[in-house]
Symmetry: C5
Subunit: 351 residues, 5 copies
């Protein structure tokens, strides 16, 4: 069965605040770090595998940390990057809500990647954490992420806009990719609603209630992932120091996309409810018309069956039984009765 | 089948931000430019076909660009007008949400034209983009637009108000035409609701569920197109520099119209839901009364049929069968029974 | 059939902004002007019929313009009063939304008069426009208005509060009369809901669905007319220059009335929905109990009818038929069976 | 029948603003005034019956005016207290909405007392008006009020907190008593919902729809009375001059109570809707199961009744009739058929 | 039966404001005080049992008061801690709403602990009150609280963060534990919804309406407990003086958790309503299909039963009865009729 998960990850309870516990489902404790060093001034880019190596570079530093299930390594990375335990805790806790935290010298962002697992017909949710501080962006994720790989690929291209701007633009760029993914979910929902629409309005097919429920849950999940982003982007636009004005221009554009997705979720929700109303009416109308036709037919035989019973009675003194042509008259009366009733019901639009 | 499209245009994904991709459905790559140069001081107006020619004119410049499916030409036009790639991307992306962007030296506006395609009974949605910068208005559209043609026709009339005011007024003038079109949709919805109302309340006709669904979607589409305009106009009224105070007066008037359309969409939505409630009740009441009448009739024959069966039994010792006039008495008893039951049910209001 | 109109008046489209088109349904082009000149200092009041005559008077000027269907006359009046075309357009357009416009030297207000046309059981909507500028109030209306006539009558009374205060108070006074009319609609709705309540809860009468729908539309219309007034009065209270502080006191009182009507519309809407729920339950319960009783009765005869059929069979070898007193035993068995079933169903509360 | 009144009192229309009309239902024109003079400095309290006597006292003045149905007396009292006609009009109009008015030198408050008339099972609504101005509180009410009597009793006790603080505290004290009364309504609603809950979930009793409707109306009335108080208390806390800081502390506490009642009304409303959903499902499930069982039983007899009819036919050539033991075989076949059908339906869970 | 209590505790009415009345259900009047004195500078911690002993200590003071049902002792404690009667009243009143009060020199907080009583399948609600003033935190509770015991246990550990920070951090730490408990309720609701989901969508099991109602009430209770906390934390973050900046960082994190729980309650509510819609459709579809099949079967026998009755009639002149092979022909006709009807209904998808 298709399943849309709105899970919060493993339960975290009674940890000390700031205690590091990974709550995702990746069991491997391997941590893989990619450091990309680049600068708008030069066409070169260098690749490092040790996180310490970012320190000496005076250009922009793009750090990709894959694998969060290793408390000691996370603490070591945190120490090198200057991140406190409360932050690391949220990075390792897979059930966080999308949110932005602005500090004096860095910015911390949690976002969700949503994509459609076509095989299992369910939405998969991935948590990504970002830290942006002076000339550096660090991305934390617990597994392979198509979106981050794509961004790294683009960064390798010396002509790409990613190479012209700073790490704030890199953050925007990934956010934009994530929101593009939301649009794919929107597209999928739209397609499914159109299919349901055609099925319902043509009246040929019945409504797949399970599918409808799944779409409603997809919309809820989409909404829960998208609506905190309005505050996030608002916060980034007001931020002074870490986000360049040129990047804010892009963020304003992204804000429009987010509003649009919010609009779509409302519209699709209303559409589904509207289709459900039609489906219920259709079902009830169809059922009613069947029951009605059947009942009318059964009614048409009731008087005749009674009459046949009457002439089957064994009274000694029963004059009609001896009347000539009584039997064909019985048929004529009954057929006339049925025709009359048929016409009467037809007239009253019960047939 | 009638169809109201809430489509977002072709899917745009994994483009570089600012990459120009046309997402509409016009395949021709022809770009047609109309430049109208006019000034309140003189009665003259001159028409040019090359976009470069607007530069030398010191009066007002009205530039109409039709056809967006040519990336190179768009880039050339953008360069001449001084528009950056992010703006051109939105202009070429047909699935934008209505919105206003205020920059230091220009204003960018996206709006939707909605009109009713009477033949296919569906709402057609057209995206229009506007750039207003010093003494210049540029309109971008991907196909023929009745509204823009109408405005250009009026501009040719030297006595028209468009000739007395600047390009900010021209923008308002077109916005007003677009909002007028929304009112036509409102009118259409109103008419349809009245027809449904008459059909439902007279009880003569059944509800066309498909039509109801279509109206609900029209209202959703109208709402999605109209409600971002409240922010748009609010932004234009607060703007300083590009919009004249006299034009702001007109915009305030337009804002009233928009609030009114919002009110109507709410009222019509509530009315449809109210009518749907009545329809469901009517259907159920009608069905119930049919079933009830029929069941009562069948009940009236049950005891009599049983009695006829009784007197059809073949017991050797069966005193009643030999009684004189037993047969007519049987009829009298049965007819009395039926009359009694008829009256009883009539009394209990089951008939 | 009763009908509540939520009409927007004739369609206005593709007029030049500021073009004067009357969109009401009064065909006469007569314009009737009443000028009342009065001053708190003196007990005198003078009546003029020409609008020009207000200019020379140094006291308060109350100008009543009846008839809007004459473009030339409206333009002449506008010129004399110093009103621009955009204002005149709104005055002549009968489908405006209630709203306030504050200008440097005048105030413009549109309000709706609602009253109940008892004969046709429908709400009638009248649009009134007001301009208040230095010592002058001008009222525009397209037909005879009971409210304005009443106010003029009061103004003739030298002891009336209208004579003690300025034109801002006169405006408040008329607004108060209009809001009083809204209360009459509220009263009417309340009465009707109480009647429905009694009918539904007593269970004696069925719900008049058409009436319920009409009340719901009345509430929608009332709400649409009343809720923009919160902004209107808020605007008037903040206004500086045209509205005296003493009048603002009255306006604050009026604001309370408007909040109260808003409260009532919510409460009545909820009440109707609640009654509708009960009605649906009642209908369904009543129907169910009928069907249940009838089915139980028919079940009670099924085994007996079968048994009668059995003893009507013509098997050669049929021992029971010859048994002594078999026939009365048949009756005893059947009556016992029926009593048992009756008790069983009674016990199970199916009867 | 139980009845919850949401009445607005007698209709007030076309009165001059500020014209005094009593709209309650007390016909007696007697006005009874109690003046209590007290001071925190002394233990003494003096009681007067004439309103003029408050003037000479330099301590706190608690004035209780009972009876509003005497225009002349009200005007006399108003003149002595320095209240304008607009205020007196609201005091005498029994359909006011709870609200606060802050003037330069006095505070005017309207509140509703709600209590449960256990005998007639309905909520009774009482309007109380308060004026607080320098060292004086005046209470206006049209009939005997338990709450005011209680407060006066307490005031007589020289040890009571009312004697330690000023008239602002006295106002708070009465407001608190009124809000306590709202909690009694909440308690009553809670108890009734619990009873309905038990009845519904046990499935033993049917839902009393009338009672549910009454509770819903009680909640609406409670909500309408309570929610304007949030603004009222907010206004009193911001007020400077009439309300002491120590009293504001108490008011903040009262605000918490009001928020709590708002919360309860939401929760109870949702609970009732949830119970109604269960009730509808239960009703429908019960009905369905009855109909199903009955239909299955009737189906079980249909083939047998047909067969009995077959062997009751009078064909001359009818071999089965002569077969030996045909009659007992008929019974065996029928009983087997019925057992089979019973098992089949049991298997399919239709029984 | 499972039961979720939204009780307000015993009714409090007509107490003097500030009068101390315990409204919980603990009858014992014992008050047990634990004073923990600790300081970040030293590793030591001392335990006292008398509340007076906190005064002399210059480090942090953690005071746990268990048992509120002793007015005199409460007044003594209040006097020692410098708490006024209004505060003590709220502490002893078990039906308070979660809220924060900020005073010049102290902070007062009421929160609810919610936990699941697995045995009785109901949510238990516990009220906790906190006072934080210079270097001191006081916790009031009427019974044993797992959360407070847990926090005290942690405090004894000299390496725990509680020992590094002040009493503001201790307050945050307990708030965090309480919110963790809310997440356990969320988890429980989630699990139950998943079970219902599987049962409903597989169609195997019927919906447990009582359980659904219980979940809806759990969500209401959760919502009522959690949503006032948004204001509480907002207030604490703005507070200046009592809450350290480092603690505010933690509070911001907690705010995110609260928003998340709010999101979950919305999502779960919508999910339940969606599942309920499916359940209703399923029930209705299943019922309809049973009724339909049964009715079709009974229809199939109606004509045959009539025909058998016809050939059981006793007319003297009845030619068919003598026809050769009339009886087997009767069977052939009837079987053919039944096959035809079966195919017809099959074709029309009624079977
Ligand atoms: Mg957008
Ligand atoms: Mg939006
Ligand atoms: Mg939007
Ligand atoms: Mg929408
Ligand atoms: Mg809907
Ligand atoms: Mg957009
Ligand atoms: Mg308007
Ligand atoms: Mg308007
Ligand atoms: Mg509006
Ligand atoms: Mg509205
Ligand atoms: Mg509405
Ligand atoms: Mg509705
Ligand atoms: Mg009021
Ligand atoms: Mg009011
Ligand atoms: Mg209100
Ligand atoms: Mg309200
Ligand atoms: Mg309400
Ligand atoms: Mg409702
Ligand atoms: Mg409702
Ligand atoms: Mg509280
Ligand atoms: Mg409270
Ligand atoms: Mg609240
Ligand atoms: Mg609360
Ligand atoms: Mg709630
Ligand atoms: Mg609900
Ligand atoms: Mg969060
Ligand atoms: Mg969170
Ligand atoms: Mg939230
Ligand atoms: Mg949410
Ligand atoms: Mg939601
Ligand atoms: Mg829903």
């Amino acid at each position: 069965m298709a399943k849309t998960q709105i899970k919060r990850g493993k339960q975290k309870w009674r940890n000390k605040p700031g205690e590091l516990v990974y709550t995702g489902d990746i069991s491997s404790e391997e941590v893989q770090v990619d450091v990309l060093l680049y600068s708008p001034e030069t066409d070169e880019i260098s690749f490092k595998k040790k996180i310490e190596e970012f320190k000496d570079y005076s250009g922009y530093r793009f750090i990709d940390v894959k694998g969060l299930n290793n408390k000691d390594e996370m603490q070591r990375i945190g120490a090198i990057l200057g991140l406190d335990d409360l932050l690391l805790e949220d990075i390792m806790h897979m059930g966080e809500r999308p949110r932005l935290e602005l500090q004096k010298d860095y910015l911390f962002l949690i976002m969700k990647n949503l994509y459609l697992d076509k095989e299992n017909i369910r939405i998969v949710q991935e948590q990504l954490s970002f830290v942006v501080k002076d000339r550096t962006i660090v991305i934390f994720r617990d597994s392979d992420s198509e979106v981050i790989n794509y961004a790294k690929e683009k960064l390798k291209n010396s002509k790409h806009s990613l190479r012209r701007f700073g790490t704030d633009y890199a953050l925007y760029y990934i956010m934009d990719l994530l929101v593009d993914n939301y649009f794919l979910i929107v597209s999928d929902v739209e397609e499914q609603i159109e299919q349901i629409e055609e099925a319902i309005i043509s009246g040929e097919e019945s409504m797949n209630l399970e599918e409808v429920y799944r779409i409603r849950k997809e919309l809820l999940l989409l909404r829960a992932s998208i609506w905190p982003l309005e505050d996030v982007i608002h916060g980034m636009i007001r931020e002074e120091g870490l986000i360049e004005n040129s990047t804010k221009e892009y963020l304003r554009d992204l804000k429009g996309n987010i509003s649009q997705i919010m609009d779509y979720t409302s519209i699709y929700r209303e559409s589904i409810l509207g289709l459900f109303d039609i489906y219920l009416s259709n079902t009830s109308n169809k059922m009613n018309s069947i029951m009605q036709t059947l009942t009318v037919i059964s009614i048409m035989f009731i008087p005749s069956t009674f009459l046949a019973g009457v002439y089957g009675m064994n009274f000694k003194e029963f004059p009609e039984l001896g009347i000539k042509h009584a039997y064909p008259v019985f048929w004529i009366i009954n057929i006339a009765l049925m025709i009359f009733m048929y016409r009467y019901f037809k007239n009253k639009r019960w047939l």
